[in-house]
Amino acid sequence: MDRLIYTAVSGMSDSMVRERVIASNMANTSTIGFKAEKLYTTPITLKGPALEARAMADGQVKSADMSAGNITQTGRKLDIALLGDAMMAVQSADGTESYTRRGDLTVSPTGVLENGDGRPVVGNGGPITVPLDAQITIGPDGMVLVANPETPNLPPQPTDRIKLASPSGTTTAKGLDGLFRVVGGGVLPADENARVIAGSLEQSNVNPSEVLTQMIQAQRLYDIRTKLIATAKEVDQSGTSLLRISGS
């Protein structure tokens, strides 16, 4: 049988991976600050003495769609939505600085400011801690303002500023924990002009109609690639019947 089917199978399996990526994006239509993943398929040409006709399809999740999600108002003081392309610095499980757009913040019982993933929010000097009994508000520049409830007439005091980083000019990639990191290590520079909106959250940037179209496209592509195998089977069968001694 022709090697065509192996090439077609690599395509079918690529379509399935594509469908899986789409399914994962679709499942995350309600995840706060989620950035849809993009799958790229590249042809891998098999080098050799023969004619270079066999190009296997190889898919990879290379990057995420960084377009902004819709911002919805929640009325919760510690919910922040990031404007523009700014990213919020958080400390990942391995202690390194990572970036996220997920801004549903809470104060842990030890006074550490954390986001909804339980990752400590990083300020100018590492993770931000706040006094336990204080009332916390977040300014438009990411400044964490702390009001002492004992002295309600005094204005809230700034403690630390959430590090809002600018990813422009640097390649960032999403890791296995869903957080963004600088490719090859390192940290992003803080962006002094970055702004946040308190009392709002950025929703997932998955566009349902776009995702549905991608889904149908991947589905049809799979069908076509299946057809290719069926055709290869027919060609093979007719070839075999030609060789068969007639009349036997």
Partner: protein, 262 residues
């Protein structure tokens, strides 16, 4: 691999289904005294590492990026949105509402302390201030037999006219508890919340001190559920469920096609 795309889509259905339960519970409690609405928080499930970034692609080069496939979504937690509910006048002297932060402390029959914002209190047969379930408000406040004109001030001072006197006498002091992270209090039904490790210990003090709210006598705090918001969320949730179920039928069609064609 094929079954994985189905499984990923299934996680989306499961999560939207859970979110619908949260919305249904919010809507069901639209008239519950001092109910705080919950919000379902979604988080991506683990990523499956198919190819590690930096892995050698040839003797000289490395893959610049990895192939990380998401395995879907799950409902990670529910956040209680502690927005103040509207205060509704009831003119009942024993109806109390907290405007601002804080909770009343309630002693359960098990001896544990519990916390609530629902201040629809009554008097027990012994004259103690109790919840409608009969749990005693802490610190215990006893209104002497025959006392009239019970007044509860903003700072929690309880005074009453005792029989045979002409001036009001202070009979107790209501204190309220505040928490570092009130969103982490565990809802235990009956409008009651229990302290958890994540909420931090209760910090008890008089109303109006250290950021605690004031007490309004003759008022009850309404539910903070906004029907319109919940209905919009419900429709959004329903649509997300629909597109996830379309995904399942699409993958099913693909497999069916492969099955029939090959």
């Amino acid at each position: 691999m094929p079954s994985t795309a189905l499984q990923v889509a299934r996680t989306g259905l499961d999560a939207q289904d859970t979110r619908m339960r949260v919305i249904a519970n919010n809507l069901a409690n639209v008239s519950t005294t001092a109910f705080k609405r919950d919000r379902a928080n979604f988080a991506t499930l683990a990523y499956q590492d198919m190819r590690v970034a930096g892995q050698a692609s040839s003797t000289q080069t490395n893959y610049a990026t990895g192939l990380n496939l998401g395995t879907g979504v799950g409902v990670q937690s529910t956040t209680r949105v502690d927005e103040q509910g509207t205060l509704n006048s009831t003119t009942n002297a024993l109806d109390l509402a907290i405007s601002g932060n804080g909770y009343f402390q309630i002693l359960l029959p098990t001896g544990q302390l519990s916390y609530t914002r629902a201040g629809n209190f009554t008097l027990s047969a012994e004259g103690q201030l109790v919840t409608s379930q009969g749990y005693v408000v802490q610190p215990a406040i006893t209104i002497p037999n025959g006392a009239s004109s019970i007044t509860i001030a903003k700072d929690g001072t309880v005074s009453a006219m005792l029989p045979g006197t002409t001036a009001a006498t202070q009979v107790g002091q209501i204190t309220i508890a505040s928490f570092v992270n009130p969103a982490a209090l565990q809802a235990s039904g009956d409008n009651l919340y229990a302290e958890t490790l994540a909420s931090g210990p209760a910090q008890i003090g008089a109303p109006g001190t250290a950021g605690r709210g004031d007490i309004s006598q003759g008022y009850l705090e309404g539910s903070n559920v906004n029907i319109v918001t919940e209905l919009v969320d419900m429709i959004e949730c329903q649509r997300a469920y629909e597109i996830n179920s379309k995904m399942i039928s699409a993958v099913d069609d693909m497999l069916k096609n492969a099955n029939q064609t090959l």
